[in-house]
Symmetry: D2
Subunit: 97 residues, 4 copies
């Protein structure tokens, strides 16, 4: 993930956009991009949506991750470490039967 | 990112959950987790939310990424490659002044 | 509310759209419209958003209500009665000090 | 709709909550409630969700409308009039065949 981290932040910094990146707006943007992803499935089954809109689905997923990375950077957090910590927590909540 | 990919998919496969993972429900789950993240900012400024709920904010961000990875796996897509492709597209849309 | 109820359902029925109105898709549409409303506030304060996008904000609010009414009709529920019931419940949860 | 309008605003005013009601936070709350509604459909078909969670679905729909009414009041707009205006616009966009 380090290589995409670097590219996302370079894109942001070339445009001097960090100054606008309040956490509340970044969280809002993550949610808005997630909804643009979801919009591909409105009135459609999974099969129909993937058949007709695969490219857009991929791009919206990328947008969600691009904002996640920017928010993680703003909060000085290590996204990968948090994923591992959350999985450890989920393992206790949902033990393998 | 390959190491967290592996861990997320191992967690899923130990529980045999892939069978439930229709793309529409995964997209819906990404959106729901993004909203749980956003809920930390309801009636609060960025500063208040980060001061009072930093741990939960991090966990919800991890949840969004956990579902993104599972959806990327379901769709046989390479999330990192898509992020780079989307950045290239955004570079044309928003050229550096 | 009865007059807008009637108009919304007439609009739907003139187009024979009720057949597509599964509850899951209606709930999804309510959420998508709510996010289109929210999008007006991305990277903006309340003041800026209302000053620049008042008309769109109003239209997106109308869209949320149009889908709510269609979902209420699909579920044979009385939206106004549910609002009064929810207020009664909220009164117990948040008593006036 | 006038009777529920009055009740919703009375509930708010008895608690002095109008002072917190910035439009951005109200839009955010509408979206969050819409997602709580949608959560009832996560990993479920419409039939399963309605069979198992009808009461909660109704309450979340009421919550969406309660926030819509409060936002309409904050913006001095007439929700019912906006619904009729939006239907007129939709009629042009989607003419009856």
């Amino acid at each position: 993930m380090h290589s995409i981290y670097k590219e996302v932040l370079r894109f942001r910094d070339e445009r001097n956009w960090k100054q606008y990146h309040e956490e509340k707006d970044l969280a809002l943007s993550i949610s808005l991009e997630a909804n643009e992803l979801l919009e591909n499935f409105q009135w459609r089954s999974s099969e129909e949506a993937v058949a007709e809109s695969k490219q857009n689905i991929k791009e919206e997923m990328a947008d969600v991750l691009i904002y996640l990375i920017q928010m993680a950077d703003k909060m000085d957090m290590d996204l990968e470490k948090e994923v591992l910590a959350k999985l450890a927590k989920n393992r206790e909540k949902y033990p393998v039967k």
